[in-house]
Each structure stands twice: as structure tokens, then as C-alpha cells.
């Protein structure tokens, strides 16, 4: 068993979840393989029929489960196998990246790229670029954050269970930092 956030060589390395459309970008990634192009191994591709199928829930779910970046690959404008699924994704992406910024997720963590079936080289470039950018940003680490956020709840629950819920509600909390002893209501 390995620590998910550690590469086998030790040290953190980003995890990028990619949603590639079947017709263009997934095929481009196949082409990159057939052409034996080399790129960083941080990407995990999930195949969908069309970038229009990419539900923003998938993106948020990937982040919340530990993805440091999410890459969406679709056909170039006007080239969608399903006419215009890629435009639907583009529109979602425009608002989603703004919303994610409001929620503190850096813009580079979510990327939408048009990669045609012939652009194996672009798969390589985009994956390498994104890996470098996210390495510079550091881990997003949502699962660790959730654990950290909930530490306060877990501690209290333990305390309540153990003490049979004694009157003290914050016995484990830190002592006052300063000497101002006045009371203000919460």
C-alpha cells in the first residue's frame, strides 16, 4: 500500500483526473501512445463519449476525492462528433472556473483543451504543462482538508462520549491567548 499523495519515488506528485471525449481527445491520447511520445504519468483518463457529458459534479467530485487537477479534453470548435457538445462544455467551464476561483481553487487546476484525434503531441504538451503548473501550486488535498476540518468534530464527539457529556463543552480547546478577560456575547 502506498500513500496516495506520494509517488513511488517518494515526495508528493500531482494527481490529475482527465475526462476525454471518445472521438477526439481519447483517440489523440491513443495516438500519443502509438507514437511512443513520453509524458508525465500523473494523469488518469476517464473516457466519455463527448465533452458535453462532463457533468460539473464529476469535476467537483474529482477534486473532493483528491484530484489536484482536472483536465477536460474535447473536439475543436465545429468538430464535435455530436455537433456541439463541446460548446456546452465550454459554457459550463466559463462559469465553473469563476465559481471555483470564488471557492479558492486556483484557475490552473481546471483546464479545458480542444485536442483533435491527430494531436497526440498536444496531449503530451498539455499533460506535461499541467503537471508542471500543479506541481508549482502544490497539493489541493481535499480529503486531507476534510479530515483536518472535521478534526474538531471528532475530538468533541470522543470527548462527549467519554465524559458522558459533562457540562464542559470545550475542555479540549486552547487556553485564552491574551489576558483580555472581558466577556462579549457570541
Amino acid at each position: 500500500m502506498t500513500d496516495p499523495s506520494k509517488s513511488p519515488n517518494g515526495g508528493w506528485t500531482p494527481r490529475i483526473v482527465a475526462f476525454f471525449c471518445n472521438w477526439c481527445t481519447y483517440t489523440a491520447a491513443d495516438l500519443a501512445g502509438v507514437s511512443r511520445l513520453k509524458y508525465s504519468s500523473n494523469i488518469r483518463v476517464i473516457r466519455l463519449m463527448c465533452s458535453g457529458r462532463v457533468d460539473p459534479q464529476f469535476i467537483l467530485d474529482a477534486f473532493s476525492r483528491g484530484a489536484d487537477g482536472v483536465l477536460i479534453g474535447g473536439c475543436h470548435p465545429n468538430d464535435c462528433h455530436y455537433v456541439e457538445g463541446n460548446y456546452k462544455m465550454l459554457r459550463r467551464f466559463q462559469l465553473l472556473k469563476r465559481m471555483l476561483a470564488d471557492l479558492g481553487i486556483e484557475e490552473q487546476r481546471l483546464r479545458l483543451e480542444w485536442i483533435s484525434a491527430a494531436e497526440g503531441e498536444k496531449v503530451k504538451r498539455v499533460v506535461n504543462e499541467m503537471t508542471t503548473q500543479i506541481k508549482a501550486l502544490g497539493p489541493l488535498g481535499m480529503p486531507e482538508k476534510f479530515r483536518d476540518w472535521d478534526q474538531e468534530v471528532i475530538e468533541l464527539a470522543h470527548h462527549v462520549e467519554k465524559s458522558g457529556a459533562a457540562a464542559c463543552c470545550c475542555g479540549s480547546a486552547a487556553a485564552p491567548k491574551d489576558s483580555k478577560a472581558e466577556v462579549a456575547h457570541v
Binding site: P56, L60, K88, L95, R98, G104, E152, A165, A173, H185
Partner: protein
């Protein structure tokens, strides 16, 4: 045979949920007749000790409203969970985080600093903040800790059922009581409301065109609305399609768009993501500039799409806020 024991409790909430219980009107008498209310801070005086001394699982059902923001609320939630057979998250705040969970966009420090220092009208030259412990007149009281994160009830304790709404409507409350008293309960974890979205019961549905293409979004204060026509057809963000029905479409009947208080259907994990997906996909323009022009009409997507559901969303909170440390 003694009547089943029922408890009501409130945490981080506005009190509106309590109103709903009162809004049962004559029906409340029927309820009161059939149950023993063992805890109801808004109406009757009970002490913490009274609850603590009750045997575990001796309360049949506790309806808890409000989000969980302080250590005291957490403690009460844990206690009531232990004392109750059924713990019911009552109302949007307990269910989804509600309006209080919008505070998950800010750190504890930002909130305390604003409220005790920067807020207009605040006079607090010594910048005093609430303390967890202090000594006064020989006593050493404790105050609850203000947590880093606003939580839904089920992020703190196990929850059996959810009654949605801000506030829940009397009909849903009554139906829940009826189910509880008759023992005809759905599977654990159910939201006690229909599982289709609001449009199902909205009168305006028939006016929605099937070829919508948004060219602009207006906010409710920016226009006068046709009282009959679908809000989305009028370019107003209405959360109806992404929101569970069961309220009887009270807001849209009152000429206000749905803001999503019933939360998503059981098939959706993140209400905001879904309405975003639907609205954006239906935008008219195809070029980035045109798309963004339309999207200017949604200046605050978090506040619009997660007005009640931020705590329950997949990310729960602005992710880069301090995760620990004492802000007091």
C-alpha cells in the same frame, strides 16, 4: 401506555423552522395530543441535565433544526442522537447547511474580525473577542467554541431523515409526523419530500419554451416579472429545475423565483453544479466573449447556486481557508 416522546431543538438557525411547527395551527393540537414533548427550548423550559438523565433512545424522534456552528450545538447533536431513536434534520440548515453555511466562504478569523471590529456600528475599542474561559466574580464560565466550519447535522452525527425547506412547509411537517406515528417510514436517509424537481408542481411550467437559449440573466431586483411566465423564460435564475419539490411552489406563486431551499433530488450529489450545468449549457452564444457576457448576469455563482447548500456541496467550503487554529 405512555405517549411517544418527541424533542425539538435548534442550532444555528433563524427560528423560522420553529414557526413552521407553530404553523401546523390546529394540527399541532393533534400532534401534541399524541406525543410528549420532552424538549422544546423555544417554547418550554428544559435543562440540559434533564435530557442527559434520560435513558438512551428514550426519545422516539428529535426534530433538530439549524446548522452546526458551535461546539455547544455539536454537543447537543451528539447527545440528542444518543437519546433518540430517530434523529430528523429539520429544515434547510440542518439538512444542507442553509443560509448560515454561506459563512463557509470565510474563515473564522474573517468572521470574528468583521463582527467584533469592522462591522459598521460596532464599538469595541479594545477589540474584545468572546473567550472560551474567563473568570468573573469568582466564577469561571465557559463559552462554546465558534467552529471553523458550518456543518450540516449529518456531518456531525448520524441522521435518519430529512425534512427539507427554509422553512419546511406545514404539510411536509404534518406528513412526517403522521409517518412517524404510524410507523410507515421510508428507508433511512430519505428526504421526506417528493423526489422530482420543483417544476413538477409549478404553474409556470407550461409557459416554459422548449427552445430556450439564454442571452442574458437578470437578478430578481432588476426587472418586473410576468406573474405567469416561467422565470427562466424571463432570463431569471430560478433554481426550480434543480430543487426538490414538495413546497407547493410557494415562492414562484408569490412571483419570486425558487432559490433552492429544498436541496437537490436524491439523484444529484451537488445541487449547484447541476443547475450551473443546465443553465450554462443552454446559453445562446458559442464564443467565449459572448458566453461571458451572458454570465455577467450571475455575478455570485456560489451565493446563487449554493444559497442553502454550500455545507452539503461536494467541496463544502472555500477550500483555501485556514483549516485549524483558534480564532478566538
Amino acid at each position: 401506555m405512555s405517549k411517544p416522546k418527541v424533542a425539538f431543538y435548534w442550532c444555528a438557525s433563524c427560528g423560522g423552522c420553529e414557526e413552521t411547527v407553530v404553523d401546523l395551527a390546529e394540527d399541532i393540537l393533534g400532534v401534541v395530543e399524541k406525543v410528549d414533548i420532552v424538549l422544546w427550548p423555544v417554547a418550554m423550559d428544559f435543562k440540559y441535565k434533564d435530557i442527559e438523565s434520560m435513558p438512551d433512545r428514550s426519545i422516539v424522534a428529535t426534530l433538530l433544526n439549524g446548522a452546526i456552528r458551535t461546539s455547544e450545538q455539536e454537543e447537543m447533536a451528539v447527545l440528542l442522537r444518543r437519546k433518540s431513536q430517530y434523529l430528523i434534520a429539520y429544515g434547510a440548515c440542518a439538512h444542507l447547511g442553509g443560509i448560515p453555511a454561506l459563512a463557509n466562504q470565510f474563515s473564522r478569523e474573517q468572521i470574528l474580525k468583521f463582527n467584533y471590529e469592522d462591522c459598521p456600528g460596532m464599538v469595541n475599542e479594545r477589540k474584545t473577542r468572546p473567550q472560551l474561559h474567563f473568570e468573573e466574580n469568582g466564577c469561571s464560565p465557559h463559552l462554546p467554541e465558534f467552529r471553523n466550519v458550518v456543518r450540516t447535522l449529518d456531518q456531525v452525527v448520524d441522521v435518519d431523515f430529512y425534512i427539507p425547506g427554509c422553512p419546511p412547509t406545514p404539510n411536509l411537517t404534518k406528513a412526517a409526523f403522521d409517518a412517524l406515528l404510524s410507523g410507515k417510514l421510508p428507508p433511512k436517509g430519505s428526504v421526506l419530500a417528493p423526489d422530482s424537481a420543483l417544476c413538477d408542481e409549478c404553474d409556470r411550467k407550461k409557459t416554459k419554451p422548449s427552445d430556450i437559449a439564454f442571452l442574458e440573466f437578470k437578478r430578481p431586483h432588476q426587472a418586473l416579472f410576468d406573474p405567469e411566465k416561467c422565470f427562466l423564460a424571463q432570463g431569471v435564475v430560478c433554481m426550480g429545475p434543480a430543487t426538490r419539490s414538495g413546497c407547493g411552489a410557494v415562492c414562484t406563486s408569490g412571483n419570486m423565483p425558487c432559490t433552492g431551499c429544498f436541496g437537490p433530488t436524491s439523484r444529484v450529489r451537488d445541487q449547484g453544479a447541476k443547475i450551473l450545468s443546465s443553465l450554462c449549457a443552454n446559453i445562446g452564444p458559442r464564443d467565449e466573449e459572448g458566453i461571458n457576457k451572458v454570465l455577467e448576469g450571475i455575478p455570485d455563482p456560489v451565493g446563487t447556486f449554493y444559497r442553502y447548500g454550500l455545507a452539503k456541496s461536494l467541496l463544502r467550503r472555500k477550500v483555501n481557508l485556514p483549516t485549524s487554529g483558534n480564532g478566538h
